[in-house]
Symmetry: D2
Subunit: 378 residues, 4 copies
């Protein structure tokens, strides 16, 4: 069985638990070491509840990278689920010790940092996954297949939105910034765009493979004065002529996590809403709108293999995460068996995509500072 360790994701951390649970679902990797908190004692206490052996409960990620790299039964990959600001140094440490990495998104605070991680990873021929969760859904994978197959013909327009309400209530002065996500030093300069706008950018790319040419952005501060943006509108010009419109919001009261992507092509269109993840709409030019159902309808084998349950039994976020890990572990196994891996062909979101996400945020911030002027991506 594959072995992994974790940095971050302690007692109260939400996303760390999601990663561990999702990995357990498939029982293909076991958690054998970790450093779950800056507070060494808290980390160890917590690690014991996860049945990790004492000598693999490390003081910090530095010790962990060092000691694991020397073991015969060393971890196959490290999962980094700390606040954003620490991703860079931690990921780098593991890469420099030749350990594959899975890191939460957004990848780093700056694109320079991401670029460096990318460079090291490539030089050392390592695998690196950035867990953009929505890429794990079977329907998202199927839409990707259909577009790769040319089902839609030339893509013309992508509309993607992510309305959420986490910042819609005005907070009392005292509580502002209580979450690290609202602290730019730790979370990155942008709040809404960095946290959820990057999901849009990634989802659009993952599904359509369209590269961006330039962006024009308006980052709004409508409620929470302590953040740069709690709402973000971005116009996108893609390479090749397609256009895009992206909207993410943390002040959309009444909304939960209503990610919606709509892709319009020459020969049809696709629409997927994350809150109904097992279906998408496929309109074929000259035909009708079809409700595609995971597990029932004709999916490509490349996406169908991620379908776990019969149609009509919902698969949610844990399963999407599990699918990302399934693809990542498959790739590790392939690599371990001697195959040469090109991460441009893998089925999980890559460090390259993580880097793209940070570039996207930086260019949008620049455009916003210039009052919406178009900024080139390259």
């Amino acid at each position: 069985m594959i072995r992994y360790g974790m940095v971050g994701g302690g007692q109260k951390a939400f996303i760390g638990d999601v990663h561990r649970s999702a990995i357990r679902l498939d029982n293909r990797a076991s958690l054998v070491c970790g450093s779950f908190s800056h507070d060494e004692q808290a980390s160890k206490t917590f690690g014991r509840t996860l049945n990790i052996e004492e000598d693999r409960l490390y003081r910090d990620y530095i010790e962990m990278a060092e000691k694991e790299s020397k073991r015969d039964d060393k971890i196959d990959f490290a999962v980094v689920v700390t606040p954003n600001a620490y991703h860079y140094e931690i990921c780098k440490e593991f890469l420099l010790h030749d350990i594959n990495v899975v890191c939460d998104k957004p990848l780093t605070l700056t694109s320079e940092e991401s670029k460096e991680l990318l460079k090291i990873k490539n030089e050392r021929n390592l695998l690196f996954c950035v867990t953009y969760s929505y890429t794990g859904y079977t329907c998202v994978k199927q839409m990707r297949c259909m577009i790769k197959d040319g089902t839609l013909g030339k893509i013309r327009f992508v509309n993607c939105e992510y309305p959420q309400s986490s910042l819609s209530k005005k907070k009392k002065k005292d509580s502002i910034g209580s979450s690290w996500r609202s602290n730019p030093t730790i979370a990155g300069k942008s709040h809404c765009l960095g946290d959820i706008g990057t999901h849009i950018e990634n989802l659009s790319y993952f599904v359509t493979s369209l590269d961006m040419k330039r962006v024009s952005a308006r980052l709004d501060t409508l409620v929470d004065e302590s953040v740069i943006d709690d709402n973000a509108c971005v116009m996108v010009d893609f390479e090749g002529g397609a256009k895009g419109l992206f909207w993410s919001s943390k002040i959309a009261n009444g909304y939960d996590n209503a990610v919606r992507i709509r892709i319009f092509g020459e020969n049809g269109s696709l629409e997927w809403v994350q809150e109904d993840p097992d279906h998408f709409i496929y309109y074929k030019e000259g035909g009708t709108r079809q409700i595609m159902s995971r597990g029932r309808d004709d999916f490509d084998s490349e996406s169908q293999k991620y379908s776990r349950l019969p149609a009509g039994h919902v698969e949610g976020l844990y399963e999407a995460f599990a699918n990302i890990y399934e693809a990542f572990i498959d790739t590790i196994n392939l690599k371990n068996s001697g195959e040469i891996i090109d991460e441009r062909d893998v089925d999980y979101p890559t460090a390259e995509m993580g880097y793209q996400g940070i570039v996207y945020v930086e260019r949008c911030l620049e455009s916003n500072e210039k009052d919406g002027e178009w900024v080139s991506i390259k």
Copy 2:
């Protein structure tokens, strides 16, 4: 009974028939004269099928305005449903003969023309309705009431979209421009923005009363090379700090007329989708998402009065048009009874709104020409 005449809307014209049918639904106004086509013979032949008396089947709108204005039983209003380019001169003619006007949207080709109509109308104290159809829906009126009542508190963000598919199929060279809507000389410089983007701008204003401060627009030509725009993205800054994002598209294959407006305020949010006109979602901060149903739920009397059928029996576009005419005819009756009318308080879409729409299109065109630079509305 109120009397009206019509210019345009001949044999094959779609929208003219909608106007006439909607007016008949309530039986409060009768069509007594008209000039239905540039082709005098066609006009008269068609007019006879509508049971109009021979001497009121006019050669053209000039004769109609002149002769009607001299009759004791003259028309109370003229309905102008010609292609856009002719709105200006026709409306002007009737106004100059002191006849109230109902004109289809967009009002004119240029804002100067609209401004002039507005001026004449005001000087002569006439009534003027521009038939933005979606303002007629009871749910739209109820959302307007709720916002006027302060139910949402300060408005923060408006997202409105109108995806449609009428231009999504590439046309053969020969057939391009076969419709007058694709001919800029007749329809106006913008196609998508002018035809359906104006519905968005109007719906946003009608419901929220938010004035625009400036716009940044990208008009896309994704399919039909003969038009300036078949897809349009507009960022809006409103007076007072609210922001908006508008998307209209004629290349959204798979979509029919999926107008959707979402309004986010301090104390809640609203969402209405035109294809399910009898419901809207009201989210009250701290509460739940509520499905408001016309005819069943607690609507204000100002909007409730437009509800014709018990809840669950759908009211569609004809009824929305009928509601616009109901408000217009009510206002005519009030005016005829001696009351002084301020059209800022009426319940139908006004010439002022028609003018705003043309200004909006012009500013967006300007912004687009300047590669998305923000352009002030005033």
Copy 3:
């Protein structure tokens, strides 16, 4: 133009206004006479508001049938929209004076009465429409076409429901029976089954052409003790082996008029929900669920001709009624032009269907009295 008269449908009557408005929508028939109330004065006062000439404002339906039948410009049909108990005698009077009839549903209080009307109508070769409103929707007509064409193959199962909430609130003793619909002498022995259960029975037959063999019914009195049934469950065995399950309810709080029909056949299934009348779901065996959209998708010409507006502009109840009248008036014109009409082939709901509805109610009442024993329809 076709001429018609009306019996019932006075000042406050809801459904009479729907009939008149729907007829006006198409402008193919004009209301020339009527007896709108038992109260002669009220009837005449009201009739004047409809611009009916004084000598055609009749004392009662007897005078109306007599005098109209002698005129050269006599009415082409009479519309009967009184409470149920009076349908029989009024319809009979017009038939005996050789005047075509449109009558609201349910047709009569007893099947004997309906049978007699049917007999007279047939002997005198008259046209007779019973306005089951849902048969007027274009999507319903399209589903009918598809089943007639064999698209679904052999029908296996029909599930139809009509939940409504009109009786869900317990009424104070005094107000019970304030509506004639709750008075069995006037409305008929069954309340829920008679009023809305008949819509289900008719919709099932109209769409599938399946004849019933036997029924097993439980009529529930869950709230309103003054009525026989405020909720009704019926199992149906059709001729030829198909089965059905019908549920109608007047105590389904939260529901408006949520008629839903689902038809399962050998080669696919259909689903239509009245509150979204312009769409239905078509599942083709081996394919996907398709959202069929009136006006956009490939409908048969027989149903397509009832589509008035482009897809995405909703057509509601008025339009459905107008479609019924469109078919009826087409048939009158055909008959007037000398063609022989077989009402089994027409596109409107017939007296035969009206009769079937009453038989259905009687058999269900019998089954209910026998504690759900199966009762043969024939």
Copy 4:
């Protein structure tokens, strides 16, 4: 950590894997032994892939019950996921060795068997869960809380349906009965009613606590002549006056697992659709229809504790199963800590409910044989 063993659920078995995965999700119980197949070698080979120690890979359930019962580190519970026919003898064996049991539904082939299991379990004071999966959803638990709290007042009517399409295609002679579910000797006398109709009966009871008084059933054989029923309609009279209508179908082509329950009470109604498990509709008499969202809206703490993810991140079937196990393991822990457990108060579906399900199927079969005659449940 809690220990469990499994009987059935070998290599290709679908539901066994769901149980194991769901348990792993929470990491509170570990699989330490099993007998996964009648084929001892296959069982052991498969067991090894699950990292079970060699001496706990048992020849059969008899050896497993015997040997485990003698260990100090014996299992806390056995999970029985074999075909239905073997449930009885296997569950009995574990109970007789004082081991708690989790068994898939339906519990046994006959109610006598279920009754006996119930008796042994009670005598020996053991815990027994029957995994009716839909009881695990947080929204289902919240509806249960609301009804227990009296939110709906007196329940009047329950409508529940489970349309599915697994038998909608006519099978070739040869393939009939290839699945054990179609073999009455192994699966039980009823197919559709036994397999999915019991889910309806259970869901209705779990949410409303309404006891049945009598049933009238029609079991249809519409496609698959090899089974007693592929479609089932049941009328239910509950104790206390409420009524019910249940429909389950395996021939509903186009449908996946569209379980829908609607409950109408004096003071409001509830509606939940399994394919959108994180929401339900709550209508409060005099109010509006509210879309309740797991994780966002005001849920009772008793149900809220099962919510794992923030609202908008879907939780599906694995999570529902995990919730059942969460409640079961909580109860085991309570019991192990010395508390006295009354299984009428627990939060998982019990053996008593399993027994009720079999009684329900038997009474429906009896009613069907008597052509729908009402059959008393007691």
